[in-house]
């Protein structure tokens, strides 16, 4: 488990590239930042196109049939800036987004940006804890499985991972709610079926309140961890398998190193490389999990906000959550890339 966070790994891997770091890393950072700015602009374009251009007659879609007279339509168009050309509209959209103005929710009659800020914390908590847990456990399972390939442990862990991978994560959540939340047969429900706090908790920051929140988050965190770790353990396993035939492992063994050292110091270090890329790329997948799990467990986060907006439909909210989720993924990707390039000079080419 400590393999991922082992400080020895980090310190050692700096040595080979230490000389060339000064020059290479700067241009690598510039390239990566420019790339992310490109993604950000593209995402804004998709966002604009999706919600403003694609619906065609925006007055009809956004106004949802409540605009009857031409005067009303004209007023609506003016209020939403629809009387400008598409290019001007895009420019206005960019400007207001940069100012943090994401429009007004039809359902809540509140600015979308405020709704998002209010709902951000539960999502970050849920996704953060689950991601850390699933990465640690997944990477550990992958290493153990690949190192003892074909063993009972490997077969069970791969089989379980594949099954979990094939499972809609919210269905797993429903099963856990039914089994551990509601209870079945003579087994009582051990965990709450949803929400973030018990209704009788007054101060959510007291020790009692925090324990209550942890108790409420147990099932959702277990669900998400199981859903994510499937993918991570499969990736880690296959990238370690790729390294197994390499000559440098033979050399390490010939030097007389213990098996554990060969594994942790040599094989895993190289195998973590592709795994990190995939984990970084999969942050988008993490967002998807949060959406459905929050819905199933009634956790008042961004995911629930967006699924609640579907039935109205509250386009401004959907647009806002889409924007925040994409920006979060792009940002997380950039950070992962920068750390990664710092640790491993090979990826800077």
């Amino acid at each position: 488990m400590s393999l991922v966070a082992d400080p020895g790994l980090v310190a050692d891997s700096e040595e080979p590239g230490a000389r060339s770091r000064g020059r290479g890393y700067g241009s690598y950072v510039v390239a990566k930042v420019l790339g992310s700015v490109g993604s950000l602009l593209f995402m804004l374009l998709v966002n604009f196109f999706l919600f403003r251009v694609l619906p065609g007659n925006a007055a009809q879609t956004l106004g949802r049939g409540r605009l009857n007279t031409p005067a009303q339509v004209a007023a609506f168009n003016k209020a939403y800036g629809l009387n400008h050309s598409v290019l001007d509209q895009f420019w206005i959209f960019l400007k207001s987004t940069a100012h943090g103005d994401l429009g007004l929710s039809v359902k809540y009659r509140l600015p979308v940006s405020q709704l998002i800020v209010d709902r951000l914390w539960p999502t970050l908590l849920l996704v953060g804890v689950s991601t850390i847990l699933s990465t640690l456990i997944g990477v550990y399972l992958g290493i153990r499985g690949a190192w003892n390939r074909g063993s009972v442990f490997d077969k069970v862990s791969t089989g379980t991972s594949l099954t979990l991978y094939a499972m809609p994560e919210w269905w797993l959540g429903l099963m856990l709610i039914a089994g551990l939340g509601v209870g079945f047969a003579f087994v009582p429900g051990l965990f709450p079926t949803g929400g973030l706090h018990s209704p009788d908790i007054v101060d959510t920051n007291s020790v009692h309140g925090i324990l209550d929140t942890i108790w409420h988050l147990t099932l959702p965190v277990i669900t998400l961890t199981l859903a994510y770790l499937a993918e991570y353990s499969l990736i880690m396993r296959s990238s370690l398998l790729d390294e197994l035939g390499e000559d440098y492992l033979q050399t390490a063994r010939a030097k007389g190193l213990r098996d554990v050292v060969v594994r942790n110091r040599h094989a895993v270090r190289n195998a973590l490389l592709p795994t990190t890329t995939v984990i970084a790329l999969n942050i988008g997948f993490v967002v998807s999990g949060a959406i459905t799990i929050e819905t199933v467990f009634s956790i008042p986060g961004l995911g629930q906000l967006s699924t609640e907006a579907i039935s109205t439909p509250d386009f401004a909210v959907l647009q806002g959550t889409f924007l925040v989720a994409s920006a979060g993924v792009i940002g997380a990707n950039l950070i992962a890339n920068l750390i990664y390039g710092w640790l491993d000079p090979r990826v800077r080419t």
Partner: protein, 304 residues
């Protein structure tokens, strides 16, 4: 190779024989993967059920107005898997639902594969600005989180069978495109492509006749993995109420089960069977795809 020694075969004949021989080789290699064969068997059962749905259960069983079973009735000798909130047999819904789930999964995959292969080929084969732009667009699409995009698109387009296919198809191609691109990049350096260029083959000729046939195996292996993802997405979108309200799929069954509170009332027969069907089908496609990948990708084959 010995069967090719027969004289006087036309080039086309020869090519066909070679292709047949290669299919047979692939099949033999595939058969050695026990998990892949198991996946194929599971998949065959579901495909047969989907095709034979009208024979197994009358479509009248889907009509709410004709339903006469108990509300959320437990499994009995008459209703093997119990009934839903409208008194319809869950088993009938499952059988007919397999059609929609498979149909959406396969059709969305076709769209995704066509876009992904085209983008991958173009971005890998063409240098210059065309290649660069298509590659950038692929990369940008890849970082946009999939489900929020799909939810947004599905909400804008409105619910419907055709729309959900479009939504899944146009949002799931980027990973295929990247895979095809990397394959194309390595294939276009091969000697036979150079030869084709030397004797005057145009770019489209090279791409269509030499590069494409050689990336096809990878496309095929990737297809089965994409179907798995597409079926999962269909289930999730239907569960969120974005599916076609007039048709029953496993996802929409789970949605109604959730809406009527089958979880809290303990009506397990309405929640567990559709979920297990999804898991089995997705697992089947994943296993087949993995086995195919190992058979068709020489790098992975060496690992065994």
């Amino acid at each position: 190779m010995t069967d090719l020694a027969a004289p006087r075969l036309s080039a086309r004949h020869l090519a066909r024989q070679r292709r047949l021989a290669s299919y047979r080789r692939t099949w033999r290699a595939f058969r050695r993967h026990r998990s892949g064969v198991a996946g194929l068997a599971i998949l065959l059962v579901f495909v047969l059920v989907a095709l034979a749905a009208p024979l197994l259960a009358s479509s009248d069983g889907l009509d709410v107005t004709l339903a006469n079973g108990p509300v959320l009735g437990a499994p009995s000798s008459h209703y093997w898997l119990g009934t839903d909130d409208n008194g319809r047999s869950v088993l009938t819904l499952l059988i007919w639902g397999s059609r929609i789930s498979l149909l959406v999964g396969l059709s969305a995959t076709v769209i995704s594969m066509v876009i992904g292969t085209l983008m991958g080929l173009v971005s890998g084969y063409f240098g210059g600005w065309i290649g660069r732009i298509t590659f950038r667009v692929t990369e940008w699409m890849l970082v946009i989180p999939f489900l929020p995009l799909a939810i947004g698109l599905a909400t804008v387009l409105g619910p419907g069978l055709f729309n959900i296919i479009i939504v899944i198809g146009v949002t799931s191609w980027p990973s295929t495109a990247l895979l095809i691109r990397s394959q194309t990049l390595s294939i276009k350096e091969r000697a036979y492509v150079e030869r084709a260029e030397a004797i005057g083959g145009g770019r489209w000729h090279q791409m269509g006749r030499h590069v494409l046939p050689n990336v096809m195996p990878m496309v095929f292996a990737n297809t089965t993995l994409t179907v798995a993802g597409a079926i999962l997405t269909e289930t999730t979108l239907s569960f969120l109420g974005l599916g076609d309200p007039t048709r029953t799929s496993w996802g929409s069954m789970l949605d109604s089960a959730y809406q009527v509170g089958a979880i809290t009332t303990g009506s397990w027969w309405f929640v567990i069977p559709p979920g297990i069907c999804v898991v089995l089908v997705v697992l089947a496609f994943t296993l087949i795809g993995q086995a195919l990948e190992e058979v068709l990708n020489p790098r992975l084959r060496a690992r065994r």
